[in-house]
């Protein structure tokens, strides 16, 4: 119900804006509705130390609005809600203790994340330059994120080359929600929504890209980011179970385990290349490759291919395949394999400074395959006259579904549906 009200408010805002504008503005306003569904299941949840259910469902509708103010300036806005339910998060309090939060046990099983951003673009056609400023916000139960960024783009006079450079800053505030049995202070109990310690994470991204038309049918794009993160990089409700030689036949709860611990800084460098080739009037090839390296010890390769096939002039089917492989982080070990020792008082402690059993940081291969369908007639699917001079044009319908098969057993799939109109 709230979402309906919100969508209505967005539409009213857009129409109000339209009325206030100069009638001579020729550029079309555009509204897009995107619906996404995601489901996964696996058996290596980091919440339970690298074993246990990873079942997760997420429904994520999204609205994007683009409003050209005049031929030089335009505004845009994106608003979305992610509603998810997570079986693994319900295990934050799997070992119920006096410190376990009644609030969390129910709330963490399902959560809502609201997010949105606004952007403003100013172009200078005489110099083939444009600049885009973006501000964003997102909020869920345990994380609030603020972001801001700027992108500068310049095309060559003949539009055959395009260069862009940009930067983004994200500032996240995390509630420290620890597993129930590992909460010791009153501020860790979490029986009230604001009764948590907090920590922050700052992410700075510098992006650069260069696009080049090579022939009448081939163009490529080089892109790279430098991403630097500082602050909380572990997830406070991820457990790590150690190789507890003092407690071989104990109940799991009694085995020595701690909260995941990772360094407070991380540097990521991905480099990508995209090449699109118009093979013939009914077939296009879209290729992408990325190499990635970071100081957690992860190196990865990504190759993807899409082959849009034009069944008719306006109806396109595109099969999708993506191959991804990564090495493990130097801090990763599976359940029960991180080493521990006893101090002089026979109290167990971790030997390593940093440790995780999060399989997202393990070595694996991930295959993604799927299909997309797009129907986009030149003059739209349907038109509704709203006045003598204006009409709403429903531009396209696009449907896409993909499946993931990760070598550690994680299976997932997504469904996306996109439609939109201009006026």
């Amino acid at each position: 119900m709230q979402l309906k009200h919100f969508m209505l408010a967005v539409l009213v805002l857009v129409f109000t804006n339209l009325k206030a504008q100069d009638d001579k503005v020729l550029n079309e306003k555009e509204v897009n509705f995107l619906f996404n569904y995601y489901q996964q299941d696996g058996d290596h949840s980091p919440v339970t130390g690298g074993k246990g259910t990873e079942k997760l469902e997420c429904i994520a509708p999204l609205i994007t609005v683009n409003i050209p103010v005049d031929t030089l300036n335009s505004f845009g806005m994106t608003v979305g809600v992610d509603y998810y339910s997570s079986a693994s998060c319900d295990n934050i309090d799997m070992f119920v203790s006096g410190a376990s939060s009644q609030y969390l046990s129910s709330a963490s099983r399902q959560d809502v994340r609201g997010h949105g951003d606004i952007h403003y673009t100013r172009t200078r056609p005489s110099k083939h330059v444009s600049g885009t400023t973006t501000f964003g916000y997102s909020q869920e139960f345990d994380v609030i994120s603020l972001s801001g960024g700027y992108k500068w783009q310049k095309a060559s006079k003949n539009q055959n080359r395009d260069f862009s450079v940009g930067g983004n800053i994200f500032y996240d505030t995390w509630k420290i929600i620890k597993p129930g049995e590992l909460r010791y202070e009153s501020t860790e109990f979490g029986n009230e929504e604001d009764n948590y310690n907090t920590d922050t994470r700052t992410t700075g991204t510098f992006s650069i890209s260069y696009a080049q038309v090579l022939t009448k049918k081939l163009q490529i794009l080089f892109s790279s980011d430098i991403v630097y993160q500082n602050g909380i990089l572990y997830t406070p409700f991820h457990r790590v179970f150690f190789n507890d030689f003092t407690c071989v036949d104990c109940e799991e709860e009694s085995k020595f385990h701690l909260i995941e611990n990772l360094p407070r800084t991380r540097l990521k460098i991905p480099i990508g290349i995209r090449a699109n080739y118009y093979i013939n009037d009914w077939l296009i090839s879209r290729l992408y490759y990325r190499y990635y390296s970071d100081d957690f010890g992860i190196k990865s390769h990504t190759v993807s291919i899409e082959l849009p096939i034009k069944i008719t002039r306006f109806f396109t089917v595109y099969p999708i395949y993506r191959f991804y492989t990564q090495t493990a982080s130097k801090y990763f070990k599976p359940y029960g394999e991180h080493e521990m020792q006893l101090d002089t008082n026979y109290v167990p402690q971790a030997i390593e400074q940093y440790y995780t059993s999060d399989y997202d940081l393990s070595e694996f291969v991930n295959h993604k395959f799927g299909l997309g369908l797009k129907y986009s007639p030149l003059y739209g699917i349907a038109q509704i006259d709203i006045s003598k001079e204006r009409k709403i044009v429903f531009k396209k319908i696009e449907f896409r579904t993909v499946f993931y098969r990760r070598s550690d057993g994680l299976k997932a799939f997504t469904i996306s549906f996109d439609t939109g109109f201009t006026f």
Partner: protein
């Protein structure tokens, strides 16, 4: 092997960049599916991949901020 492929792609790009394609010759390049960006419907997948894989970036997607991960 990968270094060789990257080297060949870079060199061929530099050599070919001298060729000029005129605006009236861009009917193929202007096709919707020839855009050098990912599909709008792909953005959600890019976010998911950022959570479920150890790497992210260099694809025009989001490279930080928030969680939504679990």
């Amino acid at each position: 092997m990968i270094k060789k492929i990257l080297f060949i792609l870079t060199v061929s790009t530099l050599l070919a960049s001298c060729a000029t394609v005129q605006p009236y010759q861009k009917m193929y390049l202007n096709d919707e599916d020839m855009k050098l960006s990912s599909h709008g419907t792909e953005a959600f997948e890019t976010g998911i991949e950022g959570y479920r894989e150890g790497s992210a970036g260099a694809n025009g997607g989001k490279t930080g901020g928030g969680c939504g991960c679990n």
